[in-house]
Symmetry: C2
Subunit: 226 residues, 2 copies
Amino acid sequence: MLTPMTLEIGMLLFPQLTQLDLTGPHEVLARMPDARVHLVAKKLDPVISETGMAIVPTTTFAELPAPDVLFVPGGYGQIAATDDAETLAWVRAAGDSAKWVTSACTGSLLLGAAGLLRGYRATTHWAFHDLLPLVGAIPVDERIVTDRNRITGAGVTAGIEAALAIAAAVSGRDVAEQIQLQIEYDPAPPFGAGHPRVATAALVEQMRARVAPRHAERLAQLSRTS
Amino acid sequence: MLTPMTLEIGMLLFPQLTQLDLTGPHEVLARMPDARVHLVAKKLDPVISETGMAIVPTTTFAELPAPDVLFVPGGYGQIAATDDAETLAWVRAAGDSAKWVTSACTGSLLLGAAGLLRGYRATTHWAFHDLLPLVGAIPVDERIVTDRNRITGAGVTAGIEAALAIAAAVSGRDVAEQIQLQIEYDPAPPFGAGHPRVATAALVEQMRARVAPRHAERLAQLSRTS
């Protein structure tokens, strides 16, 4: 009799991540049967998110060189993570051997900087979507983009949806629907401002102005490294 | 000239919480201007969620007896938290003095056990909705229920929506819409199984059977304490 294989899921943690990029998918992926979720970082010290939440890693890069599923979140700290040779090398090697290579938000730019999205259709946070071609990806303006074994989600909350798509791809749609019902993901936002398509032009302009310095920083970085 | 007041937001952490009940709202509330979010627990040791994520508290009960906004998440550990006299006393006192008393998922049952929902309209996770009358609340089957200064969210992911409603109530709709656009909350779930209203009868039955022991445990607890 064969022992059921445990799926090893490696979720990258780095300082100044957007915690919901990670915690949303974590709540979904950790509910998959026969899966073990690892929060992977350089060291086991707590990692502080952009908004000040400290999350404790469970596993170091050295302990999990080859997860079955690689997941990368986004956030401002993704720029420094991309500049960090050790982090980039882990992402590249883990992505090369993983069955599934996945991300939420600007995590796809880190996957891309590691060379993992060349020639793949992908998405990212709406405010950074125009940067995808700099890493050789084909930008698609959708909440979830699946291309072969790459599954990328759009900004922050789209990570929950990307994780449901990962659960369906790995364990079947029944499992994904069970998890969706458990986490009562039957959204009804109180306002309709979650995407430039539906927000007012003034609000979109204000947000673009606010992220402009970060956008410029990433543009410079990706132009340098690609 | 008056100094702008900082809004002190106290989010309760307890062992075996459902982390997304807390992390979703945290990502929203931490983006409010002039607000400071505290992760409040008995001690400052990391608190482990139901799915194994360790989050580090920032503040003890003693350090924050009277937050302006009280937020309580749910999860299996909510039963033990309700049985813990120190936790229940903090919730009761904080709720009595807070400007806003809020929750996601079964967090409302903890608010209720502390006597904070008597005569208030409220919601909770669909599988535990029938327990609300045991704490004197008036059950409403909606994603977000606002009654005077009580704002309760339905299961897990509804916490993101409840937090947008809190941001709007406290800081105005413009601020809530800015945050919604930042976190790209423009949901498009890949499947339509997030509520008993839309899931198949077989799936709902399966989930009810799975949570039956927890439901019975909570029913017994709330019957005892109310």
